[in-house]
Symmetry: C2
Subunit: 234 residues, 2 copies
């Protein structure tokens, strides 16, 4: 049980990795959402949470991993651009799928620069968005992601993690030694167990697309989102 959650009386449940994978599969298979739809809403909710937590940042580097967490990052970068931020994207391993190629194309056409790994100097940015690995992460971490995680962990620039802080075990949290310590965590759909170890100032829930029936099936007990907001602070 998250301590703050306990104090505030919120019944939010923290999902195991297996539960998170099941919820995700149900959204696609039972409810027939497309990846395009949910990635758009997930990335938008991350950008919205960043807008709430870091309204003053302008130069933002979005680090995108090889899977769907990286796709959420690309969508987030695009919406950050629409919100008036100046995002750049680091995307070292781009999957050869139309979905991701189109998300990259949209960003490029909107004037978002893609920077090479060796050009990254975290101090040039005011915020790092960690969209490397999400709820399906299992070690080992392959190059160059290990060194990117190390750079985020060593940097004094605040980090905003999408769903799961990269390098963390999805259930057991941060590994021994130096690890990414995000200032903002945006849990998508529902928090994963590792979020119990999050000790930064801003924890948001995003991904406002969970059907009530699905929330009940997994006893998610999600908080109410205010108005038409796409994220809620928890």
């Amino acid at each position: 049980m998250n301590r703050l959650g306990g104090i505030m009386g919120k019944g939010l449940r923290y999902l195991t990795q297996t539960e998170a994978i099941k919820v995700d599969q149900e959204l696609f298979n039972e409810y027939r959402f497309s990846v395009d739809q949910l990635m758009e809403l997930a990335g938008l909710s991350c950008a919205s949470a960043i807008r709430s937590a870091f309204p003053e940042a302008t130069r933002v580097l979005v680090l995108c991993g090889p899977g769907n967490n990286g796709g959420d990052g690309l969508v987030c970068a695009r919406h950050l651009g629409l919100f008036g931020y100046s995002p750049s994207v680091l995307y070292p391993k781009q999957p050869d799928k139309p979905l991701f190629a189109n998300l990259v194309h949209q960003c490029r056409e909107m004037g978002i620069p893609f920077v090479p790994v060796d050009a990254v100097i975290p101090g040039e940015y005011q915020l790092l968005v960690d969209a490397l690995f999400g709820f399906s992460f299992k070690p080992p971490i392959r190059a160059p992601f290990g060194s990117l995680i190390d750079a985020m962990a060593a940097s004094s620039v605040p980090v905003a993690s999408v769903d799961v802080p990269s390098g963390w075990d999805v259930e057991k949290g941060p590994p021994e030694g130096v690890s990414v310590r995000p200032k903002l965590l945006v849990s998508l759909t529902a928090p994963k167990k590792c979020a119990e170890f999050f000790d930064g100032p801003f924890h948001f829930l995003g991904g406002r697309f969970v059907p009530q029936k699905l929330a009940e099936k997994y006893s998610l007990d999600l908080p109410e989102y205010p108005g038409s907001d796409q994220c809620v602070r928890i």
Copy 2:
């Protein structure tokens, strides 16, 4: 020039039908957005505008037409459900495409009832969402849409129109005689010329996905959206 826009010094440009079609095609062909992505954002922005203009309504009937305007309506209905409204959907001509079939399935699985045409008594609802025809509309109006438009025009229940009030000429506005007179118009991407004839209390812009380069190409001079909001009152 819209009078209020003139008074407020807004340079918003109202698009011809041909321009609206071109902007739409560029979004898909040049920027490589998927219909899923943009429909999701468009429908979300409509639901957000409804949340702003009619926060007290609960029983909402969303009337969906046979094209993409109807798809925006289905997405809008789903988000209204997530916002705490009790939407129902009227969808007399459902196209035989996976996109629309999946949007229907998502609504059904989220407990949104689909009502038959002959069961509609507008007075049972507190708001009618008009998602019958959009910017590509050309007459003639086929059955049963003519009678649905007549019912909306005759009803005392407020109407919220998605992009174009149904039955209106996209450029020349309302036809002679009785016509739909929406209280809320959500212009998507940019207002169409018919919006100059809109005289209801709530005009919103939605579809916050227009790349700056595209806005400049068509001199859209869009207003600033506040924060991470998906719609803005104009």
